[in-house]
């Protein structure tokens, strides 16, 4: 199963176009991401979008929090936790990276390397990610839309994250962050690119599994009593 948890959400028509293209290229599930200001408006046409696609591809929404204020991130997370199947925070700032990885209510730290000269993750943050089960997201579009030295530096940051991933085993997810039909690639092309940067077939498969686990965990979040203890429906 191929999951893409970060396709940039836009208008109804644009989302429909992207979803059809993604289903054509072999994706099974996509999440449109919206920031905290647009998320509530986008929820209004979510059911229409699902109806229009007619089970061609599974889709959901990701709340993408973009802020440098740690308190604001915490407040937005608490506000939207029950309404969202996936909450991600755009990284890059070291304080934001740390606060995100320490918050068990957040699912994904997106692009910790953004606008930085390093990967934005060290051994301390990697351990926090494991303890709080926060995934780290790498975006294909960052490489696609950059070139020459900048592209090399981003790939180098990816490789630094792979090293920590192999040692500490935090959840790693790969996404396209496509904004238009030009950014969507077939699943084979997508995996071929990440294979070239140094991930193995098993690691790529596991990253899609991690994305699936996030959605599954959040679907059952209301039934969670403690970590590892879930209320099940014994009637079925």
């Amino acid at each position: 199963m191929f999951f893409d948890l970060n396709i940039k959400g836009n208008s109804f028509e644009n989302n429909l176009k992207l979803a059809i293209e993604a289903s054509k290229y072999g994706w099974n599930h996509i999440n449109f991401s919206y920031n905290q200001d647009d998320y509530s408006n986008a929820l209004e046409f979510k059911n229409d979008l699902i109806g229009e696609l007619n089970e061609r591809i599974a889709l959901d929404y990701t709340l993408e929090i973009k802020s440098n204020n740690i308190n604001e991130i915490r407040k937005i997370t608490n506000k939207f936790r029950s309404k969202s199947s996936c909450i991600s925070v755009v990284g890059g700032d070291l304080k934001v990276n740390r606060a995100t990885l320490e918050n068990v209510k957040i699912d994904v730290l997106s692009r910790p390397y953004l606008r930085r000269y390093d990967s934005g993750i060290n051994h301390v943050l990697a351990k926090e990610a494991v303890n709080n089960n926060v995934a780290i997201e790498l975006c294909f579009r960052d490489v696609l839309r950059s070139y020459l030295t900048h592209r090399s530096k981003i790939i180098s940051n990816f490789k630094d994250i792979y090293t920590l991933y192999r040692k500490y085993g935090f959840p790693l997810i790969l996404s396209s962050r496509a904004e238009s039909v030009y950014d969507i690639k077939t699943t084979q092309d997508f995996t071929a690119f990440f294979k070239q940067t140094g991930l193995s077939d098993e690691e790529i498969a596991k990253s899609f599994g991690d994305a699936s686990n996030i959605l599954e965990f959040n679907a059952n979040r209301s039934n969670m009593i403690l970590t590892g203890v879930r209320r099940i429906d014994d009637a079925s």
Partner: protein
């Protein structure tokens, strides 16, 4: 005078990638040739690209979408370097300062078989 054809054991094994191209600007086959070579040399370097045995075999033009011009092509590469070529082509982004996208939709051992993806 043509060279004598190599025996089968000494020939290179090829694979044929069927690619789908979306371009804001109209392109011709020669443009695609330079785009493919440029992409591979940029991402894999001159030394690695020398192994790929690249060749644009076929180029097809399709009815244009309202947003972009649509094409398909069959590109030859050497058998053990399919992943390298695929990833290089996936990273094509701009051509003459306009958006372009190449993605591989099929992989075959012969040109004839790869035409089923067209």
């Amino acid at each position: 005078m043509r060279l004598k054809v190599l025996p089968p054991t000494l020939r290179k094994n090829n694979r044929y990638l069927t690619v789908e191209i979306k371009s804001k600007l109209p392109i011709v086959k020669d443009d695609l040739v330079s785009i493919v070579w440029d992409a591979c040399i940029r991402f894999q370097g001159e030394l690695n690209t020398s192994n790929f045995n690249l060749w644009v075999m076929r180029f097809y033009e399709f009815e244009n979408d309202e947003d972009y011009c649509s094409y398909k092509a069959i590109i030859r590469c050497q058998r053990d370097y399919v992943e390298e070529v695929r990833s290089s082509l996936a990273l094509v982004n701009m051509h003459k300062r306009e958006r372009i996208s190449i993605t591989t939709v099929g992989l075959s051992g012969t040109v004839k078989a790869s035409q089923k993806y067209i």
